[in-house]
Amino acid sequence: MPFYLARCALQLLVALVGIVTVAFFLMRAIPGDPALYMLGDFATAEALANLRARLGLDQPVWRQYLIFLVRAAGGDLGMSVATGQPALAEIWSAVPPSAALAAAGMAVAVLVGVPLGIVAAVRQGSAVDVFVMLVALGGISFPVFWLGLVAILVFSHALGLFPVLGATSQPGFWKAAHHLALPALVLGFSVAAYIARLTRSAMLEVLGQDHIRVARAMGVPERRIVWRLALRNALIPVLAVIGVTFAWSLGNAILVETVFSRPGLGSTILKAVLARDYQLVQAGVLVLAAAVVLLNTALDLLYGAIDPRLART
């Protein structure tokens, strides 16, 4: 086990360095002078020079990279051009509402998607299977922002059940939950569809395996087979599915935040993109990738706990 832990830690470190590297090259995607891009034609020569010095643009690329890496390790991801505040601080303050949405959304997605996928797999080919798969197909086919608009139309406008603004600054847990509900349901539904399909595939694969067939042949009751044998073996691919889905759902979250005017990383990054505040964009993308990597590392550790075979390698 300790070997496994060490390996996970090492992978995490490599991944984090890799993420910082990719984020570094993101800035290089800007054609021309990044300082001019960010500050605009009318920037004073002094402001441009300051930003260029800060970005280290006149130095050789490898040197710029090292500076960036060292600064990132210390938590310095540059300054937001619009507010003059440190980029990381600004991103960090947008994390709590996004985390709440992501957590609520994933909770909905897992609680809805996994059972549906299992049921569909167990009753493969039946009407239930077809129905679940059609609904899932709908969930992944409609753009999530479209689902959000429909949800607003039905639940906020027509029925008045949920608020249209995805967040409120007024105090109270239940108030906040009420405002979070619709965005979380919309995000959750779109991710649930994805999870349901993948879970179904994973379960089918497990159910088709030899030891399941043997158990059936030996007369073990179906329910025991599903819940005790198949599910535990399917758990790892299902967790893998969740890990993979998380990165994807962050992309959807930005769209949901926009539709519901909800604060968070989505609206912060979007505003930064529109305002050409590229240091902030970089920081945001970096933080999100780091979150994905951390989640996946946590999942890896979980696999190690669940499946001792992995821990031994």
């Binding site: 890799g18 753009p143 479209w146 769209l255 994905v292």
Partner: protein
């Protein structure tokens, strides 16, 4: 092995074998419906100038946001432009995005993934690490950042989405190549002295293509959804060019009085994604019966 596969194996005659294969395709509901749907979309895109009842950018300011009528079958938008015509022309952009993104990401991802799966040693580990790191970035956000850097012309959007979604194809390609690498005929090729590159290009990749083609159809669908998302955020192809994402976004303010505008555009996107997924599922099942057994026949 089902009877159909047995037939195919036994037939010596190429023509008869081809006919049997076609019959196998034709019997698969997902493939047929997917193929028909995609064909329909292509036809609409190609014949848009003739199919659309009005020019998509012609404004009619005295008829803004009007309900469906004889002249405007789906009504008009805030500028009095015919929604149906805009949706028809929007098919072009969506399919173009889907096609180009798939071409670029398929080429790049296949090469990257195949090399990562085949070559072994330190190069493989480096490539795997690179792919994994790229996969950690939410693809949509990566596309967003790239579009932000390079502007929102159709070209740069295609490139941004392609780059953002290449890692996934590379990962799939790699895992497929990993299953092909230990196969006997690869061993044999190596034994007779073929270079790695030749083996890769002439034997590994062609055998790895079927699942990757499936992934390609899904990628096209994802690319179309990504473009719609970018348009919705205001970062897609600029107005007045009609795209489905633009139409949804423009219809947002009228969502309570004229929901049809945004709803119909959303349905277009959903239809496209569904038929592409059906086509992909159909291809997966018919190209490789092995896969069909494991992953379930329906969807």
């Amino acid at each position: 092995m089902s009877a159909a596969d047995a037939d195919t194996e036994l037939l010596e005659d190429t023509a008869a074998r081809r006919r049997a294969t076609l019959r196998r395709y034709a019997r698969h509901p997902a493939f047929v419906s997917g193929a028909i749907g995609v064909l329909l979309l292509v036809l609409v895109a190609v014949f848009a100038p003739w199919l659309a009842p009005h020019p998509p950018t012609r404004t009619d300011l005295m008829n803004t946001l009007s309900p469906p009528s004889a002249t405007y079958w789906l009504g008009t938008d805030a500028f009095g432009r015919c929604v149906l015509s805009r949706l028809i022309w929007g098919t072009r952009i969506s399919l173009q995005v889907g096609l180009y993104v798939v071409l670029i990401s398929l080429t790049a991802g296949t090469l990257l993934g195949a090399v990562a799966g085949y070559v072994g040693g330190w190069l493989e580990r480096v490539l795997v690490a690179v792919i994994d790191i790229l996969l950690a970035f939410p693809s949509f956000l990566l596309a967003l950042a790239l579009v932000a850097a390079r502007g929102n012309t159709l070209d740069s959007i295609v490139l941004a989405v392609a780059i953002a979604y290449t890692p996934r194809i590379a990962a799939v390609m790699r895992s497929v190549v990993l299953t092909i690498r230990p196969r006997p005929f690869i061993e044999a090729s190596r034994a007779i002295g073929l270079s790695s590159w030749t083996i890769l290009v002439r034997h590994v990749i062609p055998n790895a293509l079927p699942p990757v083609i499936v992934v390609a159809t899904v990628s096209a669908a994802t690319a179309i959804l990504a473009e719609a998302g970018l348009s919705f955020l205001g970062l897609g192809v600029q107005p007045p060019t009609p795209t489905w994402g633009n139409v949804i976004s423009e219809g947002q303010t009228a969502i309570t009085t004229r929901p049809l505008i945004s709803l119909s555009a959303g349905l277009c996107i959903a239809f496209t994604v569904v038929v592409l997924n059906l086509l992909g599922d159909g291809l997966r099942d018919t190209l490789d019966p092995q896969m069909r057994r494991n992953t379930g026949k329906l969807l």
